[in-house]
Amino acid sequence: MNVLRAWIEERLGLRAVTLFLEKKEVPRHKHTFLYYTGSSILLFLGIQIVTGVLLAFYYQPTLAEANASVVRIMTEMPLGWLVRSVHSWSATFMIALVFVHLLGIAFTKAYRKPREATWVTGVLLLGASLAFGFTGYLLPWDELSLAATKVGTNLPKALPVVGAWLTRVMRAGEDVTGDTVSRFFIFHVSVLPLAVMAFLGIHLFLVQRHGMSVPLEAERKGVKVPILPFWPNFAFREAGVWLVLLGLLMTIAVVAAPGIGPQADLMAPAPEGIKPEWYFLFMFQTLKLFPARVLGLNGELVAVLIMMAGMAALFLLPFIDNRPFARKGKVITVLAWAAFAYAVGMSIWSLL
């Protein structure tokens, strides 16, 4: 065993990594639980990759076969329905944790100098996660996914100059067709994973480079925060959290496995009760409530522009709130709470 270890070490030089992990320390305070969200996102990403590969063995991204292949996965493949359910639910868990992670960082102001780039890559990862959800939603090619994708890909159309072009690029044509399924599949299994790997690599490097942030109060008062060695003290705790999350995921995947609707019919009218995935509900409801015309402008355009402004503000938050780390930043806290309450309220309203 020692010979093998020496052989590997000579070629890969992993000792530097293990030394780094041995020396790594985690601050211990009332927000320590937020550190678990980051690693748990990685856990669910790993599950997504494994179950996604298993599903890709049988899934066929064509107009004629997309729905039928998902039905085959669910009915003919051993435990295929469970693999699909775990894939679907782990996506939900992952996106929920991404939101919690992001909100936690916004509330603790951990995005401030020197962690601006960490925040920016984090927001890009949020965008990629949502894009995964959006592209994955169409793949079963049932009535509901077709209708929801039509609504979703129609949104950019409201934008001047680039809107129509953007919609055409997303749909691979003028309308949602079999070509859209192929395009979404390529994005889902190839383009987005590559983007996530790149952003994640930078994000993780920056997290290690700057270390974990400590609470504002401790920073302001100059109090030394107690620490916990990453290995093994924190890593074992993290493993416990992972196990509980895995159990919860398996339970929900078994108890509430997603079904699949009838194959999409391009000629059929949109079915009633079209709803996107839960993480798009607040946007969906906002669009529904917007009047057709606002101050003489197209209401949809105004809504899209407001959403884009919100996304830009989120992306540039560290540069908007660029005060020293020790400052409280109550306005940002209030705004973060307001945004959270708005998203939850609109989502619930949409479900009623």
């Binding site: 039928a68 093994p232 003290n233």
Partner: protein, 112 residues
């Protein structure tokens, strides 16, 4: 580590291995049940006719097999959590006593 703690760890580790082994075995058995023809489930062709496909297997035997699998999963998690709890306590104790730092400062023998 004390011999009593060592012995207890070994017993728990053995129990965990047995549990995980039986979990894998039961998983293989359940997969075989899944492989059996499923007359109660609809085929891909039926779905094209405009009907919804059930999300999970309907026959009572299969449902039961999956719930048993789930029970095994939770049992294994409980055992592993127990082991982790002991390891965390031990690691915290070593850290609070400063033994890890003492080990770093200790002079290394030949060959190190």
């Amino acid at each position: 580590m004390e011999p009593a703690v060592n012995g207890r760890l070994r017993v728990i580790a053995a129990a965990a291995i047995i549990l995980l082994g039986s979990l894998v075995a039961s998983g293989i058995l359940e997969a075989r049940v899944q492989e059996a023809p499923q007359a109660s489930l609809k085929t891909a062709a039926d779905n094209a006719q405009g009907q919804e496909t059930p999300a999970s297997p309907r026959p009572a035997k299969e449902r039961m097999a999956v719930y048993i699998l789930l029970a095994w999963v939770w049992l294994s998690i409980a055992v592993l959590l127990g082991i982790l709890r002991m390891r965390v306590r031990e690691a915290d104790r070593v850290y609070s006593m400063g033994l890890d730092r003492a080990a770093e400062k200790a002079p290394k023998g030949p060959g190190h």
